[in-house]
Symmetry: C2
Subunit: 195 residues, 2 copies
């Protein structure tokens, strides 16, 4: 999934049977706390460490038995996150974008779902007891949405980790479009200094 291009949902749904569909979701909730008493956390945004050592979003492949993309996504969420994922349902209204990759033929649909902080904390608390924990999922992590004084620690350093497929682009798009980070932090990321 190193090479991927953005496609519209209609185009994605018209792809032939040789294509597999995957759905992933960014779960987020407002977080009023301050790091070190002075850095606003703004939101809690969840990603997960995957079995392959890379960061990605909860979700997975849609099966032929799933009645819809969203049915497949919500089924995967219960397997990966446990019962707390039954307290909400990711719907087509939460859909954001699709990316297609050629080898193997996978089209990845991306969603973002706003939760209450209590719902998100229940997901974190229950995830270690989920079916896939310690196997396909190695742990949930929150995304730092700030930059520390050195300008690197926080979101910039986080983005230097290993990501699966389009996950890094999906994260940045969602942070911008949903207004989850300060605009000046995002614009500073677009002109990388150290690369």
């Amino acid at each position: 999934m190193a090479e991927h291009r953005r496609v519209e949902m209609a185009e994605a749904l018209a792809l032939g049977p040789g294509w597999r569909h995957a759905c992933h979701v960014l779960l987020y909730a407002p977080d009023p706390r301050m790091l070190f008493g002075r850095i606003p956390q703004r939101y809690a945004v969840l990603m997960q460490m995957r079995f392959d050592g890379r960061l990605g979003f909860p979700g997975g492949f849609v099966d032929a038995q799933d009645a819809s993309l969203e049915d497949g996504l919500n089924r995967e969420l219960r397997e990966e996150l446990g019962e707390a994922a039954s307290a909400f349902r990711v719907e087509r209204a939460d859909y954001r974008s699709s990316h297609a990759a050629g080898r193997p033929r996978v089209v990845a649909h991306f969603y973002a779902k706003g939760l209450t902080l209590e719902q998100l904390e229940a997901v974190e608390a229950g995830a270690p007891r989920a079916k896939d924990h310690g196997l396909e999922v190695l742990g949930l992590v929150r995304v730092p949405l700030y930059a520390l004084r050195d300008g690197v620690g926080g979101l910039p350093a986080f983005l230097e980790n290993s990501f699966i497929g389009a996950a890094r682009e999906q994260l940045l798009e969602a942070l911008q479009d949903l207004g989850l980070v300060a605009p000046d932090l995002l614009s500073s990321l677009k002109t990388p200094a150290g690369h």
Copy 2:
């Protein structure tokens, strides 16, 4: 902490008052499960995503009030991991190595502690309720100790993430010295192909 050199514990303890001491621990437990029904997990090994977007081990700075390095480490573990960390105590016998860095002057002491899988799972289950969760600690992750068929996914890809200070070296040393991964996987990592 980009530049760091290995020092003996006695040398580290003789460093002047301008040096701060930090202690971190690798917690591990045997895990008999198989990923995808065929890849042995071998052990569950814990690291954490830190507030600065980098992976590291649980632990932190030793305070003047701490009676010993290990007292400081165990206090930090309760703050970062919650009450489940009270079920065990990391001792001097679990000490493995020290690394010193110049700017700022920090000497980082590293420990490894074997737990039962039940103790480690209790740490994972309780960590989201710990004092530092969502602030200094963004989540616990297990380290994949295998390589997938492509030779990259798993431990090799995990090692491409961002690590704080000496954490990556500490991880590799402990995996080798404690025999937590297959020897042929470690030797393949020492001759990187893609770099």
